[in-house]
Structures are given as structure tokens and as C-alpha cells.
Symmetry: C2
Subunit: 250 residues, 2 copies
Amino acid sequence: MMRGTTSHAGQGIDPFVPAGGYLSLLLETFSAESRARLDGMARVRTVPAKTVLVREGERPNEIGFVLSGILALTRFLPSGRAQISGLLAPTDMYGRIFSGRSRHHVESLSEARLICFDRAHFEALVAKDAEVERVLLTHVLDELDIAREWVLLLNGSKVIERVASFLILLMSRHGGGLPDARAPMTLQVPLSREDLASYLGTRPETLSRAFHELADKGIIHITDPYRFDVVNLPALIKVSGRDFAPDGGD
Amino acid sequence: MMRGTTSHAGQGIDPFVPAGGYLSLLLETFSAESRARLDGMARVRTVPAKTVLVREGERPNEIGFVLSGILALTRFLPSGRAQISGLLAPTDMYGRIFSGRSRHHVESLSEARLICFDRAHFEALVAKDAEVERVLLTHVLDELDIAREWVLLLNGSKVIERVASFLILLMSRHGGGLPDARAPMTLQVPLSREDLASYLGTRPETLSRAFHELADKGIIHITDPYRFDVVNLPALIKVSGRDFAPDGGD
DNA sequence: CTCTTCTCTTGATGACCATCAATGCGTGCC
DNA sequence: GGCACGCATTGATGGTCATCAAGAGAAGAG
């Protein structure tokens, strides 16, 4: 279950990291003192794909932030099949702070670099340092919005709509906004077909058909199963059935 | 669009409010001083169903908490149809703190009682009062989990599975946990068929069929379109295709 | 009371998609 | 090299659901 990324997906630019890099964004939000305190407790580690970081039902002793790579939140259904309920991209947080057990597995889909904190220490720091707390709060509010964005995306009845929306969200994350509509853009999808299917609430076969339908219509060009060029962005937006702003994206 | 609650749905016990009442829960989380400060800025108001509180794209000047009733977060698609991307139950917050524009409409589905704060004042208080900030943070983390819960629910391929999951979540919210499996339980659904359909990513007709299929199987009893008795909880859980814990649920 | 209106419900049909099954392609192992 | 394995793809089929259409009940207006 939950096939990890093949060697394909691990290569190339990480599509979730914008030009400036999220790492600096994450760290520069804090003042020098806060950063120093954080640094003292931090532990940076690199994990390979398919590493389980937190298990459903357990109370994790670590709070972690993604620096690079993609993690997935998954749930196991009685049928034995795994469902992805969320993706964690660079700057996203995992682990439970000030509360109980985790409701999902947290698992790396690609090789990932993480910055981890001991939970108790991190909680103490948050309680003491109002600035860290504020940054955290803003952060979590953003994640909440993103999660609700996915709810909308999944409500799109047709699979091809969801695929189109996914690609557009991917693009807007890449550059911090949608690029010029007329400039073709190369996209790298860091997920296997099976993982992406689980995330979009469908099956790999249907996903494959949707991608190739977009290609047949001349909207995208498929370089390999993990790389696409978006040839016709307006058409892609139209297929998605949603009104993405020309610039703001999400 | 977005048909509001009829007089049916407004009547009876609010199914989202547990025995103890959420209001006290919300307020008692704060210390006396914090509460006093909050009280000074607060404005409690009651709005009828179908009231739009925040418009998509606007920067709201109010932060509000739901005391009773149900609000919905909605998005309008290019097709003109409205999609519900989240429900707000008592204790839930709306409005944007420390950040930009709202990405959804916030609209009351039933008559609702709200406690509102001026955004700037509330932000100042949060910046000053670490305790308020902490409560808020914990709160938002919980909402994030709930949002991800919905992602899972919507991934359930069949509509009847989603309906079953919805009813179970409703039950576990009602009493703070699932009751004894053998005791029938009366549920009040505070949403019109159209609103619920939008929320579950389907249409009213399909929803109606799903409810009556559950009734035909003897799993629930339909008193009226807004009231049900859950007769066979284990069977309901089985239909949902998920493993709700016998007690804690989520 | 009667008419209007709104919502829920029920029926019929076609589109979409999950599923089963088989083929093609690349990678790693022997 | 040759083989096995994993993943993506493609084909065929049945089930589920969106949609169009129509009927039933209840609430409110006059």
C-alpha cells in the first residue's frame, strides 16, 4: 500500500519550492532571538521516501516542519486501503501541539528534509515566546484555508476537473502565483499515480485517462509520468470549472 | 441559490450543542482577566438564516465566534452554483486574523447567535494576551483536523457512505462521543437537503435516495426530513466504510 | 379556504467512473 | 543478456450518480 516515489519523482527541481526558497521564508519570519532559541532545540534530518514519521493514534513527541520534499497525511480504512487526507509541503507543520493523539499517519512520499523539535520543549517555547506563537497561529490559519481549498477541489464532480484544479494549484505554488497565461510552463508532479489518485479521490486508471484526455485536447504535454508542460492555461482553467484569478491563484 | 433553512430546521434542540453547552466551554477556557478584556470588546448578535456575514474576497473587519446555530463557508463556481466548503458549529471562528482577504462567503444556514469582535482590537488583544493566543491556536489546530476529516469523508466514493459518515459525525458531536451502540438516538439535521447535498458533494435527489435506502435497510428511521432515529449504529458504521471507534469517535 | 410556492420525493435515462483484466515499458537482479 | 517485478497505460463492463421531469405535502398569502 501507499507506493512511494520512484526514482523519477525524486529528481529535478522540487515543484513545491518557490524561487526564493521556503526555508528562508520560514526562518526569517522569526526575530533573531526567537531563531536562536529555536536553533538550540532544532534537529534537522533527512528521511528517504516512504518513511513513517507519525503513526495514527499515537501521541508524537516531535513537532516537525517540512524543509523540502512532500509528506502525506494518510488514514487507513477498514478495507485496508490507505487514503491521503492532506499533503505537507515545505513550511508545513506536523505533530500535535497542546493536544492529544494524531489522527493520521504522517509519511514521506519523496525524500524529505525536516526540522524537528522536541514537543515539550517546543510547547514551552511557544508559551514563553509570543512571537513564535503568533507566527505559528498565522501559519495554522493558512493551512486551514488550504485544507478547505481541497474540500472544494474534491467536490468537483468530474475527475478531469479535479486534475485540472490540482495542476493549477501546483502551478500557483511553484511561482507564488499563476504565470502569464501564454507562456508554457513545465510542472513536476512529486507523486506516483497511485498516491495522486488516492489524494484526488479516484483510482490510477481513471487518473491516467484524465491526463491523456487533457493531452489529447492539446491543453498539456506529457513528457513523462511525472513531468508536464501546461500549453494552454486558459483552457485548463476552463476545464477545472473554477475561476482561478489570473494572478492571485489560491 | 443556497436555500436557507426552513422553519423545520430551526426548531428543536440544536444538534451541535452538547449537554453542557459550548458557550461555557468557549468562555471558561479563558481566565477571568482575559474574559473581562474580551467582554469589553464583544458584541453578541443574533442573525436570521441566510444572512451573509463575510463576502468572498473582502477583508472582514470582524472576528466572530459561533455561539449557536450553523454557518457555512461557501464558494461560488463559474457555473453560478454555490459550493459549501465547510460548516461552522458553536465555538468555531470566522474572519481573518493577521492576514488578508477571505476566500469564502460566510453565511448563516439557520438562525445563529454570534459573538463578534472588532478585528483590529482583537488582534491587539491576541498580541498582548498570551493566554488568548494559546486558546486560539489550539482551537485553530482542532479546526484544521476537522477540515481534514471532511477531506476523508468526501473521498468516500459512494454517496451513502458519506451520508452514513455524516450522521455518525453528527452523533459524536452531539454527545461528545458515540453513545451506546444499542440505544436508539434521535438526530436533528440543521441543513436543508440542498445545503447538505452541496456539502456532501452531491445533489438533493441522490441524497434523498440515500436516506431512504438507509431507512429501507432498517438502519435509521426518518421522522421528518430533518429528524432521524439511528436504530442500528453498528450497521451505520459498517455502511460508512470507516472505523469509528466505539466510544471516542473523533 | 384556495392558490401559490417551496421543498422533498420518486422515476427514467445517459454520462461517468470503479473494477477486472491485459499489455507495454523501464529498472534492478541473477 | 535474460528474467522478474513494479508501475503506467489501455480496453471492456457493470454500477453509481447527475440530470431532466413530474408528483406530493406543507407553509404562507390573499
